[in-house]
């Protein structure tokens, strides 16, 4: 499991330590990968900064997308059990 945000590594590191996360948080401050996945949310961050919209992808070993969750509501993200169910269903 990996996360991606526009935050620089030092911010992500502080956040990981604070929250006790053990998975990597990757940094995409120039929104290059965010754009490649067409997930750019223009000017939606603090001070009008470009950020990523929330999105979750399940990718199998061959690099194929097996499950996608593009929320219509920034406050409603995929829940852990949803992701686990997708893993069970798609990769059994």
């Amino acid at each position: 499991m990996v996360a991606i945000s526009v935050d620089p590594p030092e911010i992500s590191k502080r956040y990981c330590q604070k929250m006790g996360f053990t998975f990597p948080i990757l940094s995409d401050p120039k929104t290059e990968v965010i754009r490649r996945y067409d997930l750019l949310h223009k000017s939606a961050g603090p001070g009008g900064a470009d950020i990523a919209r929330p999105a979750e992808f399940l990718i199998d070993r061959s690099g194929t997308i097996r499950w996608v969750n593009l929320t219509e509501n920034a406050a409603v993200r995929a829940r852990p059990e949803q992701v686990l169910r997708a893993l069970d269903e798609q990769l059994k």
């Binding site: 990996v2 935050d7 990757l26 750019l40 999105a55 979750e56 199998d60 996608v68 920034a74």
Partner: protein, 142 residues
């Protein structure tokens, strides 16, 4: 004769404020965040009390106070509820279309990005060392 304190106006207004500010707490739980029913219930109760208070202030002004601050509290209360509704039902739903986002069955675009220790991580590396990858995009600014 001294007029009675019109408590319904103040308690109603207080409930509206509690309904607004308590979202900071209820947003932590999916059951009260995905649909903010606790906050809406508080708004409803507050609204009913405000209406009762206004009816008392204007219907029996010789008994109850509140002809001046009643409407003021009611208007502020309405604005507070409006701001809440705007934020929770409109603003968070302003999502980009993302029509070009990779779909099921397509291959995930390859990338390499630095992790929190500034070490480069490639999608292909993750896939080589595990059964699958779950990729989560966050809004960030933590």
């Amino acid at each position: 004769m001294k007029k009675s304190w019109n408590w319904t106006l103040w308690v109603g207004f207080l409930l509206v404020l509690v309904g607004f500010f308590s979202y900071a707490f209820f947003v932590l739980f999916p059951a009260t965040r995905d649909f903010p029913w606790v906050n809406l219930t508080l708004f409803c109760l507050g609204g009913i009390l405000l209406v009762v208070g206004l009816a008392r202030a204007f219907g029996r002004p010789q008994v109850f106070r509140g002809k001046i601050f009643g409407p003021i509290l009611a208007v502020i209360g309405l604005l507070v509820v409006g701001l809440f509704a705007y934020g929770v039902f409109y603003e968070v739903r302003q999502m980009p279309a993302s029509a070009g986002a990779p779909r099921i069955g397509e291959s995930a675009p390859e990338f390499t990005l630095p992790d929190q220790d500034a070490k480069p991580v490639a999608l292909s590396d993750i896939l080589r060392s595990s059964q699958a990858a779950v990729l989560i995009f966050y809004r960030g600014h933590w």
